[in-house]
Amino acid sequence: MHHILIVEDSPTMRSLVVSALEDIGMPVRITEAASGFEALRELPRGDYDLIVTDINMPDINGLELISFVRRNAAYRSIPMLIISTEGSERDREKGLELGADAYLVKPFDPAALRRTAKELLEKTRGE
């Protein structure tokens, strides 16, 4: 069973991401965080196989979250997928530089999300 953490402040966007990932075709467990702070609190509680995060959030932004995860020995190897809105190209590039593995642009295609998430999940299993 794969455990996925979704970090997104928009409830609508969050439930769309959840509904897309529930259909991924492999057993998954999904935990939702409505803000960067919630994600920080959630991380030590679960053994995550994938983190899907937005960039533009009110408390800490997605870049700060990526930076945190990549500098933390316990989470360093969790794949991270950015989903951000078009128009934030520079922020997205920074995210990849900070160590995110992939990104998708909102509005995203659920199938593309599933495909990317699957690849990232399979990568973890391979290691």
Partner: protein
């Protein structure tokens, strides 16, 4: 009448419905078959998707409501919520039952919009599994309420199109 008394009947279905409705953390495994609840009307079997069933309760006093369509026999209180009850026999144009059989049940459905509706049926028998490709086209003209026939042993079970059953042609 206490709900606990019906635990024997209601529990398995309630469990299925609740399992599916759980939010937050959702566990998903692919399931190639659909599960249908089999119910009986006038000695014929019918079925509807189990995930639409919230619970199954014994027949109990139903409060009639004036100015409702004839197939709505009244309303029922379910743990603080009030739901309309449709007499499924009348809905399908079958003769009304004068039978006070202890096997009569009210199958409580939850709609996509969260609305509860009760269906009064003669009895409920089991949950069957159906693969989509096994569904056969309907033969009757049950006002379009049946979407297909599901084979079970040597007989066919009529599978309801729940939305059509609930569409009484009044107020959207």
């Amino acid at each position: 009448m206490s709900l606990e008394a019906e635990a024997g009947v209601a529990e398995p279905f309630a469990h299925l419905a609740r399992g599916a409705a759980r939010r937050g953390e959702v566990v998903t495994e692919s399931a190639p078959e659909r599960e249908l609840l089999v119910l009986w009307l006038d000695e014929s079997p019918y079925a509807l998707p189990v995930e639409r069933v919230r619970e199954i309760v014994r027949l109990r006093p139903i409060t009639p409501v004036p100015r409702m369509p004839a197939s709505v026999c009244g309303v029922l209180s379910l743990r603080g919520e009030i739901a309309q009850v449709i007499d499924l026999r009348l809905r399908l144009g079958l003769p009304a039952s004068s039978d006070a059989s202890p096997r009569r049940r009210i199958v409580v459905l939850h709609g996509e919009d969260g609305q509860l509706t009760g269906l009064l049926v003669d009895r409920v028998s089991e949950v069957m599994r159906l693969r989509d490709e096994d569904l056969r086209p309907p033969t009757g003209r049950d006002a379009g309420t049946v979407i297909g026939l599901a084979p079970q042993g040597d007989r066919f079970v009529s599978v309801f199109d729940v939305e059509r059953v609930l569409d009484l042609g009044v107020g959207a």
